[in-house]
Symmetry: C2
Subunit: 335 residues, 2 copies
């Protein structure tokens, strides 16, 4: 591989001049610029990223951690982040968790990996992180933003929706449609955002005069398959409910499949409500009524904040729009 010295020699200039041509820093005569450009092309010179990052101490790269590679939930968020980064000519290095069970340790390992990688800032999505973990990350790389996890100590670095309010909106919507007997498929207990949305949902029910303790609940792991299994377990316990709230859309998709398998028509025999507002929810059979969280927007704002931090930019970080129930066809109004 050709180095900057080879280019300098070929162009008949010093290495400093070559560097200035490449980076556009400092004055270079038109003549020298041309000779350097030609030499670069002829030698197919490509500057080494490692050699470049070493003296500069900056890599124009943001590190992103996402709990899972797959699934309909995380990837659109990643897409939004990536698009924004590209707009600003920045690079992204992603690290993924293996499973939701190992999310916490994966996120910690990911933060180390990304920091070691010379990322200028970290955008981390992991609800399973404890306060001490976040302190650890802050020590590793003070320039970071947290997505969907909030701790008072780092309030300014935390971005995410008000899950409790959003959960409450779901509860109120079901009550308003006349449902009095409701079941819930919740996510993993370790996930703080799950706990909040379930709490909000049950509180709303309570305000409508429904005893939260009477609500049958099953737990899934946010995957469609787990939603199916949870729904089946719920059906097996005797189907004395008219509506089913799922802690995310993917589990709701599984619940829809389970309902069909059980011979239940949605929404005539059973209403199903999701959460998150993933794109796929528009294309289920029937189309899913869900609580839309403006995830892409939230992610973009978190990133804006991070870029302001890292590069002294001045990107807007407006308050997020609140979550809203999107009425499609999976919830029926009953007497």
């Amino acid at each position: 591989m050709a180095t900057i010295k080879d280019v300098a020699k070929r162009a008949g200039v010093g290495v400093g001049t070559v560097s200035r041509v490449i980076a556009g820093s400092g004055p270079v005569s038109a003549d020298a610029t041309n000779r350097v450009r030609r030499a670069i092309a002829e030698l197919r010179f490509r500057p080494s990223h490692a050699a470049r990052a070493l003296p500069k101490g900056q890599s124009q790269t943001i590190g992103v951690f996402v709990p899972l590679v797959h699934g309909a939930f995380y990837t659109p968020i990643l897409h939004a982040i990536y698009a924004t980064l590209r707009e600003h000519g920045l690079h992204m290095v992603v690290d993924f968790g293996r499973t939701l069970e190992t999310e916490r340790q994966d996120a910690l390992a990911g933060a180390e990996f990304l920091t070691d990688r010379g990322c200028d800032g970290l955008l981390i999505m992991a609800t399973a992180l404890k306060r001490a973990d976040i302190e650890h990350i802050a020590q590793l790389q003070p320039k970071f933003a947290l997505l969907n996890r909030s701790v008072p100590q780092f309030r300014a670095n935390c971005f995410g929706p008000d899950h409790q309010a959003a959960g409450a909106a779901a509860g109120r919507a079901l009550c308003a449609a006349g449902h009095r007997r409701v079941a819930v498929i919740e996510g993993p207990a370790r996930s703080s955002d799950n706990r909040l949305r379930i709490r909000g949902f049950l509180e709303a029910l309570s305000e409508c005069g429904i005893d939260p303790d009477s609500v049958p609940r099953e737990q899934g792991d946010f995957s469609p398959e787990s939603g199916r299994a949870a729904a089946e377990a719920l059906f097996a316990r005797g189907r004395n409910f008219t509506a089913l709230f799922c802690a995310n859309d993917e589990m709701a998709i599984g619940a829809l499949a389970a309902a069909r398998q059980a011979g239940l028509a949605v929404p005539q025999d059973l209403s199903v409500m999701g959460y998150d507002g993933i794109d796929l929810a528009a294309l289920t059979v029937p189309p899913l009524t869900t609580v839309v969280i403006p995830w892409r927007q939230i992610a973009t704002h978190a990133l804006h904040h991070l870029l302001n931090l890292c590069y002294g930019m001045n990107l807007p970080v407006p308050p997020d729009v609140p979550a809203q129930v999107l009425y499609r066809e999976s919830v029926a109004r009953i007497a």
Copy 2:
């Protein structure tokens, strides 16, 4: 940030010794090892990735390009790649394309980004790449593997299913179920794998005595939404077919939604067949009959080949299992 020199000073040894302790290369006395380890811990020393990669010329990192961040198709493949990489203690840097339209140029830019990033090898998934593009990539980084794109010149580096055979299997399955009037939702014409599977499908139909030219066709872009639109267009042209073959499962999901919207029961009024065998296809309403391509396996084998190339490993690269039709409930047998 502490450097290796600080550690050496604190431990009262030379930098060479510290480096040997960290890398486990060369002999170091137990005493020195302990002092170094302690100093590392006390100073919270973390070796700089950039400084390390510079003299070594290797980064223990594989670069992966995937056409899209989001969607149900690419991410499980990425997941399989990531899992294998972790098993071998290697890192991954991913680059994504923006849209399927820009796949070709994004893949090219991605190859450059990943190479500049010091990746030891490249795993690239992009059907839109032309032969010259691949030559360019080979020049950039001779250690590469191609997923789902095959060119004779680089036969050994290419991995992917036999789309034509798989498409034919779909066609035969529909014929065997008694369907004589069939429609097709195909993917983008620029996508070589799409062309192959459609060709195989139509050839199989032809062998069953169905005129390929009589088959109504609409084009989508592999997204669920485009599948819905294509199905609607097909319905609008008069629904004189009993079965619909979709070039991938995601478009089939969209077609299912369109069918419901049109008041068509699947499979009673219309049979729908997918392609790929994504996980979600098991949870649609009704569960989708599809051609299962062993994508995870293919990706793993491509990666094995690449690792053998990069690190002189000796990982198995067995022939892939052929694609198979998985019968679920979206295709009816008719008279």
